[in-house]
């Protein structure tokens, strides 16, 4: 076996990320507490640098490298760009929050960057091994990030829960991969795809492999019935970590699903379509109904995230290019809205006070009409009311479902979106219709947070008025 030099170019952003992260890790050791801002700035510039590299490398068509284990294609590049952007916003939103809680340490940023590297590897994976590698790099960073607040009982519990359940999901995924390897004799997704397409689909081992893989993906996405970890972790983790968990990793999980199911097992679409329908209906039902009972905003948004996964699955299960593009559009839209939603919690909280109860938003319209309006935009957008971005993303996935004659599924989805509207409306009700209690302070966040959060919310409105560009991007990425 002769050794040939692989083409490093497609993985340039990942190598840059790795190099910079290691450099920041070292540098951070020598920084004093007061100059910690350097870590922050370097982390942000790393993200921007990686973004530039990814954009620069963008091209139509796909290229494989590293013995076909690593793929670069338009879908991956677009997802990576949004992963950088989302993480950039997370770092920015989290800065003040971490400072006020004495958590403004290098670890948060280094773990975050390693997580981004893991996501990138996952997005570009073209082999079962690369998928697993990326997934574990991401997951381990997230476990640690949840546990960052060492002395908080709640956070430690959440981290423990996350770790145990996450490890189990990884094990199931690995088990499925091993069976798939047993059946097809290959780790390469392209070859797996060819082998599975040639089989009749009735193979017992293949069916088991598929079930385990779908479970692994469903766990990472947080689809019912593999969602148990999600509300507890979102709630227990420091809001800064929740912000991180709820944003970019959703894109990575979407990519993982696409790589495994579409790139690897397109021939089994009939089989996994049924499984995803079940997951989607359950997620829509449970996520939306249980969210109604929540009094904690983080928990409510966690259940809302579960229901959004249900919508996202509608797009993927349709098995069409338009459906995949719709799901990608949905994932990106959700990340933008979710960032705004958790960002609002960060904005409202200050030292010693987590504004994570819905009650904490009482009378926000009197205290800060501007941010009440921003939250209103986010809530109505998540509920899927036009003219906001959330409406178009829902329209896209429903259209995908109707396009493959699943009109009943579309009807189920819209009914649950009406049920879901109730709890978003309740947040608006608390902000606008309830009176503020005495002693509720005005918002004291720093300027950059205010400006960026406002931009985030207005982007939800702007992309709702002009969704064509983002939509065309998603369609082009999957063409």
């Amino acid at each position: 076996m002769s050794f040939t030099m692989p083409d490093f170019m497609p993985a340039l952003p990942e190598m840059f990320l790795l190099g910079m992260t290691c450099f920041i890790l070292l540098l951070d050791l020598f920084l004093s507490e007061r100059s910690r801002i350097v870590t922050y700035l370097l982390a942000q510039s790393t993200l921007l640098g990686a973004l530039l590299l990814t954009v620069g490398l963008y091209e139509e068509g796909r290229a494989l490298t590293f013995s076909d284990t690593f793929v670069i294609d338009p879908m991956g590049s677009v997802l990576k760009v949004f992963i950088y952007l989302a993480t950039f916003l997370v770092f920015l939103y989290a800065k003040d929050y971490l400072r006020a809680r004495n958590m403004f340490k290098g670890e948060f940023y280094i773990l975050g960057l390693f997580g981004v590297l893991g996501m990138n590897v996952l997005v570009s994976a073209h082999s079962l091994l690369t998928i697993y590698l990326g997934l574990e790099l991401l997951s381990l960073s997230m476990y640690a990030m949840v546990a960052l607040q060492r002395d908080s009982l709640q956070a430690s519990e959440a981290a423990m829960k996350y770790f145990v359940l996450g490890a189990m999901a990884s094990a199931l995924l690995l088990y499925g991969m091993s069976m798939l390897y047993g059946v097809t004799g290959s780790l390469d997704l392209g070859q797996i795809n060819n082998s599975t397409a040639a089989m009749d689909g009735n193979s017992m081992v293949l069916a088991f492999a598929l079930v385990f893989m779908v479970i692994g993906v469903a766990f990472k996405l947080g689809a019912v019935p593999f969602h148990m970890w999600l509300p507890d972790v979102y709630h227990g983790a420091p809001t800064a970590a929740t912000l991180y968990l709820s944003s970019a990793p959703k894109l990575a999980a979407f990519a993982m699903m696409m790589r495994l199911l579409v790139d690897g097992m397109a021939g089994l679409q009939e089989q996994w379509e049924g499984m995803l329908i079940l997951l989607a209906v359950l997620s829509l039902a449970l996520g939306n109904v249980i969210a109604i009972a929540q009094t904690n905003l983080k928990r409510m948004l966690a259940y809302s995230a579960i229901s959004h996964v249900g919508f996202l699955l509608l797009g993927v299960l349709s098995g069409t290019q338009a459906g995949y593009a719709a799901a990608m559009f949905y994932a990106i839209a959700y990340v933008i809205m979710g960032l705004g939603g958790f960002g609002m919690i960060v904005l409202m909280s200050r030292a010693g006070f987590e504004a994570d109860n819905i009650e904490d938003f009482k009378g926000l319209n009197e205290r800060s009409p501007w941010f009440a309006l921003m939250m209103l935009i986010l809530m109505f957008s998540m509920a899927g009311v036009p003219p906001f971005l959330g409406f178009w993303s829902k329209l896209a996935v429903i259209q995908a479902a109707i396009g493959v004659e699943l009109v009943w599924l579309a009807a189920v989805a819209v009914v649950f979106s009406v049920i879901g509207a109730f709890y978003y409306l309740r947040v608006v009700k608390v902000m606008y219709f309830d009176k503020a209690e005495a002693g509720m302070p005005a918002i004291s966040a720093s300027l950059d947070l205010r400006v960026v959060l406002s931009t985030n919310s207005l982007a939800v409105l702007g992309l709702g008025l002009f969704p064509g560009g983002l939509l065309a991007l998603c369609l082009a990425a999957l063409a």
């Binding site: 319209n365 209103l376 109707i402 009109v407 009807a411 009700k429 606008y432 219709f433 064509g468 939509l471």
Partner: protein, 504 residues
């Protein structure tokens, strides 16, 4: 000179952008914000006038059209245009918005800028609904409109406002999402969201029936038709006066407009198949809800039920078309029912708005809507009593007022369809008179019942202006409905011809 301006875009975006400016002006300087709101409302109204004056009454084609690509990937266009059905409704919207801004002038003390801004934005969105010729654009306006109304009822409403506004929002939202599914399905079949393309699209009967039912859910909730009307009395009672006026005068018309723009032309065969259902529901609304109105103790609730009953006439007028055609052998006579329905919509916009404003005038003084708390108001508020009696008469369908024209046309048309339809519909002449005039007798006439009533002040100039303008419109439309009928005739004729052709 107006032909070059994108008038429809202007009547949509002027109030929306103006509303945002009012919001930005904030409540710190309430007067400034209110003056700005009035200015915006007036400008919008003036901008909408050329739609009427330059309207070509000889054609049924869409006029003042604007077409720009919006979302190319789904071939969704920013496509606007009006015909004889939608143009009068846009005028009604811009006109009512001016009145609502004036009506809220002194009354709204809490966050007046946000109040005015909500109404302006709502007006723009409602104009958008009427002007949209692209189904996706229509849906965006249709749903977006719920947001300001949700806020208006919830913030400035009565004691049970939160229950009422949530019910309002969820009810109407549930109705509309099925319409969205139907629209998407049709888009995937035909490749176009353009309403006029959907009109021409052939559909099997089964598909038509499902689509018709999906539309029915959306529009019946908005109209509202029995039995999905229960949100309306709650929303009306708890809404502030301006909210009630907009709800009754315009939002209810959106449902009826939906039937004319979507159900009848897109699913004519299903409409014909299911017209028994629509006629039955309409007659139940007319008769049963009329009785329900009779026993109301709350003035706003009474007018709310009266609105449902009157809207029953509108839907009746639209769906008796095929029965008339069966009996007379041509679709010619069928147009009268639809024309009557249209006149009834416009007239009800003026009358119900005026009635809610009358109740608002009383409520601002005594903070009660109970009929029992009043009595002998005519002694202390003679000018007000005059207006209230006029509007009550119009509500009861007195000849010479606008209320008569529409009802008469619909009853006349239903005679051609079936005697019993006409008989049941005509009971409204008795029932409507009974509940309205009985309320007026108890509130306006009789002895002065309490010290509070004795201390009432008659209406001031601002209130006189609003009620006076409305009274003028009610009488004008009642005595001389010809301009309105002329405007809508070609469109209605075209619609009737279109309905007569099967799409199977």
């Amino acid at each position: 000179m107006f032909a070059d301006l994108p008038l429809l875009s202007l009547v949509i975006w002027t109030p929306i952008i103006g509303g945002l400016l009012v919001l930005a002006a904030g409540s710190r300087n309430a007067l400034e914000a209110k003056a700005l709101a009035l200015l915006v409302a007036l400008i919008t109204f003036l901008l909408s006038l050329p739609l009427f004056t330059s309207f070509d009454t000889a054609t049924a084609a869409m006029q003042f059209t604007e077409l720009h690509p919006w979302i190319a990937a789904w071939s969704i266009n920013y496509h606007l245009g009006v015909d004889g059905i939608s143009m009068p409704l846009i005028l009604l919207t811009t006109f009512t918005t001016v009145l609502v801004v004036i009506a809220g002038w002194e009354v709204i003390k809490d966050k007046p800028a946000q109040y005015m801004a909500s109404f302006l934005i709502m007006a723009g969105l409602m104009n958008g609904v009427f002007a949209a010729l692209d189904a996706a654009l229509f849906y965006v306006f249709w749903e977006a409109m719920l947001i300001p109304m949700f806020i208006v009822i919830g913030v400035w409403g009565g004691p049970r406002r939160i229950y009422a506004t949530l019910k309002f929002f969820l009810y109407t939202f549930l109705g509309s999402v099925f319409m969205l599914v139907a629209l998407i399905w049709m888009y995937l079949q035909s490749g176009s969201f353009a309403i006029l393309d959907l009109h021409a699209m052939p559909l099997s009967l089964n598909a038509q029936i499902l689509i018709f039912l999906a539309f029915l859910l959306a529009f019946a909730v908005k109209v509202p038709m029995w039995p999905v009307h229960t949100w309306l009395p709650d929303a009306h009672v708890e809404a502030p006066t301006g909210g009630s006026v907009i709800l009754a005068a315009i939002m209810l018309k959106l449902g009826a407009y939906g039937f004319l723009r979507f159900s009848l032309p897109i699913t004519p065969d299903a409409s014909q198949q299911l017209d028994w259902l629509m006629i039955a529901l309409s007659l139940i609304a007319v008769v049963y809800i009329g009785f329900v109105a009779l026993v109301q103790q709350d003035m706003k609730k009474l007018i709310a039920y009266s609105s449902i009953s009157h809207m029953g006439f509108v839907t009746l007028g639209m769906f008796i078309a095929w029965r008339i055609a069966d009996n007379t052998g041509s679709m010619q006579g069928a147009g009268m029912g639809i024309q009557g329905a249209m006149v009834q919509m416009i007239s009800h916009g003026f009358i119900s708005g005026a009635m809610f404003l009358c109740v608002g005038v009383l409520y601002d003084r005594l903070h009660s809507r109970e009929i029992g708390d009043y009595g002998g108001v005519a002694h202390t508020m003679p000018r007000f009593a005059g207006f209230m009696v006029l509007f009550a008469m119009a509500n009861a369908g007195l000849p010479g007022t606008s209320g008569f024209v529409g009802e008469f046309m619909v009853i006349l048309a239903s005679f051609k369809a079936n005697f019993w339809f006409a008989f049941l519909a005509a009971t409204t002449l008795i029932l409507g008179a009974a509940y309205t005039l009985w309320m007026v007798r108890r509130v306006v006439y009789g002895e002065v019942t309490s010290d509070k009533v004795a201390a009432l002040q008659d209406i001031n100039g601002r209130e006189f202006l609003i009620l006076g303008v409305l009274a003028l419109m009610v009488l004008l439309l009642g005595l001389w409905p010809a301009p309105l009928l002329d405007v809508m005739r070609p469109t209605v004729e075209h619609l009737v011809q279109h309905m007569a052709v099967s799409k199977l």
